[in-house]
């Protein structure tokens, strides 16, 4: 046994360091299905508290939708619980293939391959399609899973300033000598809620013979007129070479992800992507649920329309109350507080008022940009939003930040 007292002490020291830096993460136990109204045990051991959930990625309110739950039950009955195999040995069922076909149709791409999660999709895709003679040029605010995937790939890595097309063009010129070039972005950025300018990006990539990669995890199902994603919103369906996305957010919220895009790139993933080759894929019960979700979304835009209306109502309510918001029109609505401690204090007080919303600060967001990130759902009704607005106003008054400028808040609470 190599786990001596000395080794244990070293890890205990590291954990203390995380605590001292204020970065120690604690789970809150939810005792109910995921929904707008949840029951939470926090701190651990305390009695259950009913709160309105303002921080789930449950954008379409489908995580506990009765039709999705029924479909999952049926999947369990007809296709069993697990596959006990990777895809290419004996871990592929007809419904896995059906889901790949349906996702391809939904996103308007050429082909799709499922992954256990979008984290796995992003971890595996770059290494599968790029080599050391190539370059990856990523927006500086892409998701951590993309950064991990880029680290696993031998292609050269570079970045461009967030959303800055001029800087991207300079980088495309700088790397003109590379065999393959891939420009990498999130569709909707998870911390700021802003949207990539995919139309301009696709045009630049065409000019400089580069591929476009989009992680649309915070967009699939509700961004764009029929909820296909950021590429639909920007009018570039069919022009994005790789889309990765998750089934763990709007599309049912259970788990799983995929790489969807050009036929050859998807085939390269099937041959080479390690998370696909060396791990079981999505369980039949989840596949059955996601098939039902896509069925619901293909028949009607009702849920994404409701989400759009809820988002507009929420944004206006917060703005009228005098909060500073990040610009945007997605259901990710960051309420800017700038100071890290203030973001934690406001989050704690909101919880006391029955509103579950988390404060984010450095290093999750840049220094001096602490915030409460609120996320709107089609599962919210107006009475949920009204109650949450009342709580935000009450807490905002307590800290005297309503109607104050960024400068005034920083003067009062520090940067």
């Amino acid at each position: 046994m190599g786990y001596s007292d000395k080794v244990r002490a070293a890890y205990q020291e590291q954990i203390k360091g995380i605590q001292a830096a204020g970065l120690f993460k604690q789970e809150r136990f939810i005792h109910s299905p995921q929904a707008a109204d949840i029951e939470v045990e926090f701190p651990t051991g305390s009695s259950l508290k009913k709160v309105i959930n303002m921080c789930a990625n449950n954008y379409l309110g489908l995580s506990s939708h009765p039709d999705v739950v029924t479909a999952a039950h049926e999947g369990l009955d007809h296709r069993g619980y697990g596959m006990s195999s990777v895809r290419f040995i004996c871990g592929t069922q007809d419904i896995h293939h059906e889901l790949e076909r349906k996702v391809t149709e939904f996103l308007g791409t050429e082909d799709t391959i499922l992954f256990p999660s979008c984290m796995d999709a992003n971890a595996g895709v770059f290494e599968a399609v790029l080599t050391k003679d190539d370059v990856m040029i990523a927006d500086r605010l892409v998701h951590a899973s993309i950064i991990d995937g880029m680290r696993l790939c031998s292609a050269q890595q570079d970045t461009f300033k967030h959303g800055n097309m001029q800087h991207l063009e300079e980088k495309l010129q700088l790397h003109a000598d590379k065999r393959m070039k891939m420009v990498i972005t999130d569709g909707v950025f998870s911390m700021d809620g802003d949207t990539a300018r995919l139309d301009e990006m696709a045009a630049l990539c065409e000019k400089y013979d580069a591929m476009v990669f989009v992680d649309d995890s915070h967009a699939s199902g509700f961004i764009g007129k029929t909820g296909r994603g950021t590429h639909e919103k920007c009018g570039v369906v069919g022009k994005i070479d790789i889309i990765t996305t998750t089934f763990g957010k709007a599309l049912g919220g259970a788990s799983g992800g995929c790489v969807s895009g050009r036929r050859e790139l998807v085939e390269m993933c099937r041959q080479r992507a390690r998370p696909y080759l060396f791990s079981n894929t999505i369980a039949p019960v989840v596949v059955s649920g996601v098939l039902k979700v896509l069925d619901i979304l293909s028949k009607s835009t009702e849920r994404r329309d409701k989400l759009e209306n809820n988002t507009a109502y929420w944004r206006k309510g917060l703005q009228d109350a005098g909060f500073i918001l990040k610009e945007g029109d997605t259901p990710i609505v960051p309420v800017m507080l700038f100071n890290a401690k203030l973001s934690q204090d406001v989050s704690r007080d909101l919880y006391q008022e029955g509103i579950y919303a988390i404060g984010f600060f450095f290093p999750v967001v840049p220094q001096g940009q602490a915030r409460i990130r609120t996320q709107i759902s089609a599962g919210h009704e107006i009475h949920h939003l009204d109650k949450a607005l009342e709580a935000f106003k009450k807490v905002g008054q307590k800290y005297d930040i309503l109607g104050k400028t960024k400068q005034e808040i920083i003067e009062k609470y520090g940067p």
């Binding site: 990523a138 500086r140 950064i147 050269q156 890595q157 970045t159 967030h162 700088l174 290093p363 840049p366």
Partner: protein
């Protein structure tokens, strides 16, 4: 400030700062301060190599060695013949 420090500082400001109001000097922590991430170091290294016609081994281009303009200038001087 010597000329090389000014050149590197200007490059870092232009390449990495998002906020025009943000002020940095030659001793501002760049990587540990979250201004330059490890991916972006690639283009910084490429800029230095092209500008000063040098080759910096990867082992020398560590986050610690690139953590401020002053440190970067010291690395560059080491490789200028």
């Amino acid at each position: 400030m010597d000329e090389m420090a000014q050149v590197v500082l200007d490059y870092v400001k232009n390449e990495y700062l998002e906020d025009e109001d943000e002020e940095i000097d030659v001793d501002t922590p760049l990587i540990s301060g979250g201004i330059v991430d490890s991916f972006s170091m690639v283009s910084l290294k490429r800029f230095l190599e092209n500008k000063y016609n040098i080759s910096i081994p990867d082992a020398k281009a560590t986050p610690e060695a690139f953590d401020s303009v002053t440190r970067i200038v010291a690395v560059v001087r080491e490789f200028i013949k």
